[in-house]
Homo-oligomer: 337 residues x 2
């Protein structure tokens, strides 16, 4: 079982990507194919002691995706780009999963076009793992589909449930619909229709959830359209960052407060770890024929290492087989009504 | 100039509402009509020294709105409720503005039905003032309209601009459209169409904004549909609360961290003040024939006092006259294209 990693993608590539792959190969013993300009990757690998003893190989890809390229251009023109070649490795069966921290749109479009949709899935979605008071939850879609129909939200719920089971080991994930009030009658046209569909499924559907429920950890899966999900993700990150900045501003040059901050530092560090996106390494694109993890552009070596771990776990658990079965069963149930 | 205040509405009513009204009457010298069960209000006023010397009067209203009543029931059946009577005072011209911290849906529906829409306005909206790194911004709609057309977002932008000018004293407010990427081509169908309309107006339209722009204070007015706005508001509050709870958990029983927290407390207190909703006392319902402030159910006396200040300022600045002019001008501009 090998994981294809786009070695050229991300703000800290190839350095952090290669370092993360080396760590993953050491810690998890998983086979990794680093995709990109061979010489550059060789050089990076040379910086790591004993890298040649690890299950790492290189696949040459001569083109690099620029952040200014449109996803369509990347797909049509850059056929020897690291993103494209890494996805082709999954398509051909050489690798079981692909990871890229490069151009998000291009990585998503390439996985979608090269690997194709899983049978029964209408719209693949991007899922993100969010920290909550009780652990984590999966929220989806966070950007792949900006205009959705009720049916799409239903499928996102099923996808989220399967990933929650196999990635986060929740036996019976609680699925919530992101809305503006708990009652079934609260929400917009889209969520009210989706609510009805969700009650017909075999899912552990807990109804509408709001911001406070999400952060308290009352749901394991939070379902929304990709526009809302993306806005929620970005505003949450921004609020957390802003609070940090405001606290720093309020400390200012005051020595007592500075000392207080110093004494509290372990508490802040542990907070940072709790809300660190690097823990899960990236956002899986769910509903395609294969496993694709879209990592954050700013991914550290730790984020890449964890993305490789997550990809390997998903492949081992045959998550797509389970997803296919669940989609078939639940679409029947929803249709029956 | 008198302000009608629903003395029975809110978790801390009548105590906090009457206390806030007394403070406002003292500090701003503004006339206030406290609406509700006369005897109860009399009793509360009796607890305040010298209240009889202040410009406060009582208007009896025998019914009280229950949190479980539907807004329609309140409007149709409870015609002598404090919310209804307070709004009728604005309708008859006895008061210039109404404030309620009670049942949000009922307060909104009552203002909408009793006072009616301002000429030219299609959908009144609820605006909230959000703290940012540089001060505050107005975000609207945050819940009055869950399914919107591009035209509605255009009107929200105009409403937000006028309120930013007259309430927050921004001379040339920067208006941003909440979306998922800066480019005009990013967003959902609704925002992409609204983007086009907004470029045709006389507004200082700065294009799409995302979470980070909002929190950095790059926009004075943030426009979105009421579903997104409500979700954003609630998730932002929840993230801020959760960070506080997580910090407390991480401090735990560790004495050094506790001492550090104690030394940093002024920094946390000043943070709390910066992000406290009570500063502006509530959310104005914009686009109706009159001024209506919907206050938070948990409103403190300080929140009520500030809501009265805001209502008086809005009335003095003749905000609705300006709004009417701006709507006429900009709807012409948008139509001309």
């Amino acid at each position: 079982m090998k994981i294809a990693v786009d070695a050229m993608g991300g703000d800290n590539a190839p350095h952090a990507v290669v370092a993360g792959a080396v760590q993953a190969a050491k810690e998890f013993g998983v086979g990794i194919i680093l995709v990109g300009i061979e010489q550059v990757i060789q050089e990076e690998l040379g910086k790591h002691h004993n890298a040649q003893a690890l299950p790492l190989e290189i696949r040459n890809a001569t083109e690099v995706v620029d952040m200014l390229d449109s996803p369509a251009t990347v797909f049509r023109r850059k056929k020897d780009s690291s993103i494209r070649v890494a996805n082709e490795l999954v398509k051909s069966g050489e690798a079981v999963a692909v990871i890229s921290a490069g151009h998000t749109g291009a990585a998503m479009a390439t996985s979608l076009f090269v690997l194709g949709k899983l049978e029964g899935i209408e719209r693949p979605a991007i899922a993100t793992i969010m920290p909550t008071m009780k652990g984590t939850c999966i929220i989806l879609d966070v950007g792949a589909n900006v205009d959705c129909k009720p049916n799409h939200l239903l499928q996102f719920a099923i996808m989220g449930e399967v990933y929650s089971k196999y990635l986060l080991k929740n036996l019976n994930p609680r699925v919530g619909l992101l809305s503006i009030g708990e009652e079934a009658t609260k929400g917009n046209e889209l969520t009210k229709e989706a609510f009805k569909l969700l009650t017909e499924t075999s899912l552990n559907f807990i109804g509408n959830v709001e911001g406070r429920d999400v952060m308290s950890g009352n749901a394991d899966v939070v379902v929304c359209d990709g526009f809302i999900g993306n806005v929620v993700l970005k505003i949450s990150e921004a609020v957390a960052e802003t609070i940090g900045l405001m606290i720093r501003e309020n400390i200012g040059d005051n020595l007592i407060r500075k000392l207080g901050y110093f004494m509290m530092r372990p508490a802040f560090r542990s907070l940072k770890r709790r809300i660190d996106y690097a823990e899960y390494g990236g956002a899986p694109l769910i509903g395609i024929n294969g496993i694709s993890i879209i990592s954050h552009g700013r991914s550290s070596d730790r984020a890449i290492k964890n993305a490789i771990r997550v990809a390997a776990e998903l492949a081992k658990s045959e998550v797509n087989k389970h997803l296919h079965e669940d989609i078939e069963k639940n679409m029947e149930l929803a249709k029956a009504k």
